[in-house]
Symmetry: C2
Subunit: 410 residues, 2 copies
């Protein structure tokens, strides 16, 4: 567990996982991933509650995958009951044929779930620019239907992953003033991860009874503090999707602006930040995770600097090598704020100040070298002024990242 | 020689190099680089002509190195006679002490050159955030004075390099309508290279007689088409400096808006693009160079897409692996233009169209795989509309880049 995420006292881990009440899930091998032995690559997740409400967030990219376009144009995003996901193919940059395949995937999802098409969200992840074989997806969904189970979250989570090195899911029991609710979540993502969102999928289920407006509000706030704040390689994806579904099956009602809402929000915030941090830690080839916190007087300036540092391949490579090369932090900050020289920059690495008002300060080099040798390294940057702050988590840049990405399609 | 740079017919290479008339240069080992045997690390370049005019360009970073600040604040940038450069230390993020060291470097340069301090430009390159030992620079300059020579460009060029894998310099004879002039240039740069400028230094000398306004105009136009259009790792540096000096020692006068000016500009454009391409080719650990050309209807859109593609570590890794993974090109373009979906994107790799109006098109995969196995790979992107175009050269992302940058200071 990272020191950067603290579990609230009213939140308990559920060992062994399992879905929130009202949900069932499955994962099957449909032959979309070209792997031997066959890997799980089609996931199905269904709420059995007619009144289920939902909220969703998608990539801001100008090149959006067919499933994202279909979700945005053909779904009731506030009332999603089923989610269909395939891995191994992103169905992106696939034109009209890709939209047809996505529509068939949605239609098959509706059939096997027994709900209307507009209540079925679809998502894809994998290689871009290759046509998706929708017959394989449909066959997979038929098989998945008979495997739907309340503890199907592990197989569903496995079916949505691609280059991920480890599972990213959790089940929490959350004690609200009005009663106990459960939240379960399954995420994937390890490459093409940007702080402006990420090539990542995350599906969250709760059995709390929540209004659609509340679900949208909570998801929006928590995504901004989690998946919007991680960088593996600064690359915004074509397929990013986050969906929150609320079945209400616990019987616990979370009213707007209540203490229940506050507590549920804290739990969701903890959950998504934890999953986001796992994505950064699982950055392709990653060995170490960095956290940069920038404070100063201007929201835009602190955000730009935090992202520039988190995205810098030089900072990432230094993190990889356990090299306390803070000059690259100053360089990235300066690049993010052109025309501001001389910039009165303060820099700390693991609470050791290395730069004060733009100039190097003497520090204990062996102590700092030891501090940056750990699994997590924290960088703090002070810009002039007060009141604004931004944090971004980022992975390092390793030889393995190059190996993975130089040999992906071939 | 790259297919992307064509030598104009009125320009001839001078085998064996040498400086333009009126200039002398030297490079010495002053002990700033911590290497064994000692490497050249202090360079001195002097014009013997009192009437020498000049032009200069510097980094736009908010964190500017002391030598850049000193040049901007204390130099007559239109009348520089001497240039003093050290490698092995960037004298950046070094505060008041760094500014003092830079001032001493400038003062020593004036002394050994016999010119006023305001006519001495200084530049530094190397590690950031470490104080520069100005006594070593001063000792080096005293030694360099006695070594100044008309063929000192090779040693000067060597003294300004850091992680460069090969020399980047050239000497050209340029036949103008009014006579023959010579241009010589020495450049360095291999990492922290961004299309918004680069961690690079370039010093250009000509014996043409040019007005300062003309020098500034020509340098500005040519930098925009060369050093402003390359990316190794998207990292804008603290020290970027380009200086053009014109001694007039050839006796050939280049009048404003004359054919002479046009021809001299063509030669300078050729020279700087060639050096810029050498910097991209020498990108830290680089094996291949890419060129992305984006055309469409909007200047800002084509520039943003070209830079996003050139800076993408995924595109760079695919270039490295000889992987025709054009989906990453679509992804980078989409990231550069959020909110424009669906984007009618066309993509060609080496004249093979792989994407038309946003969708994959069938292509000859073995032929394309062979095409991207060469030393240079060209990517063309069409956005809607016509009239705007931007090209950026970029290096690939290799294991060696990670090795070099994970172990730089330690």
């Amino acid at each position: 567990m990272s020191r950067w995420v603290t579990r609230p006292s009213h939140v308990a881990e559920v060992e062994g996982g399992g879905l929130a009440r009202g949900f069932r899930a499955a994962g099957v091998a449909a032959g979309i991933k070209n792997s031997s032995p066959p890997a799980l690559d089609v996931g199905l997740l269904v709420s059995d509650v007619e009144e289920t409400v939902s909220a969703a967030r998608f990539t801001a990219s100008g090149v959006q995958a067919a499933p994202v376009l279909v979700c945005r144009e053909r779904c009731r995003l506030d009332a999603l009951r089923a989610v269909v996901v395939n891995s191994g193919n992103a169905n992106a940059a696939t034109g009209g044929r890709g939209l047809d395949a996505a529509a068939k995937m949605q239609g098959a999802g509706a059939m096997v779930s027994g709900v209307g098409e507009d209540r079925v969200a679809i998502a894809s992840t994998g290689v871009i620019g290759v046509q998706l074989d929708d017959r394989k997806v449909v066959s997979g969904l038929l098989a998945a239907r008979s495997e739907l189970a309340e503890d199907g979250d592990a197989r569903f989570g496995e079916a949505i992953r691609t280059t991920d090195g480890f599972p990213k899911q959790a089940t929490l029991d959350v004690t609200l003033p009005s009663g106990v609710v459960r939240i379960s979540a399954q995420a994937k993502g390890a490459g093409m991860i940007s702080p402006r969102f990420a090539t990542m999928l995350c599906f969250v289920q709760t059995d709390a009874s929540v209004q659609a407006e509340t679900a949208d509000l909570l998801l929006g706030v928590c995504v901004k503090r989690s998946f919007d704040r991680i960088s593996v390689d600064g690359q915004l994806s074509t397929n990013d999707t986050v969906i929150l579904q609320c079945s209400g099956a616990s019987g616990v009602t979370v009213a707007p602006e209540s203490d229940d809402e506050l507590r549920l929000g804290e739990a969701l915030d903890y959950l998504l930040r934890r999953l986001a941090l796992l994505i950064a830690a699982d950055g392709e080839g990653s060995k170490r995770v960095g956290r940069v916190v920038v404070h100063g007087g201007h929201d835009e300036a602190v955000t730009r600097v935090a992202r520039a540092v988190a995205n810098s391949p030089l900072v990432k490579a230094a993190l990889h090598g356990g090299d306390p090369n803070w000059g690259r932090i100053a360089q990235a900050a300066g690049m993010a704020l052109p025309g501001t020289a001389p910039l009165a920059l303060d820099i700390w690495i693991e609470d050791v100040q290395v730069c004060a008002r733009g100039a190097a300060v003497p520090f204990d080099e062996p102590a700092l070298a030891a501090a940056v040798a750990g699994d997590e390294v924290e960088y703090t940057i002070g810009l002039p002024g007060e009141g604004a702050e931004c944090e971004v988590f980022f992975s390092d840049l390793s030889h393995e990242y190059v190996t993975i990405n130089a040999e992906y399609t071939t």
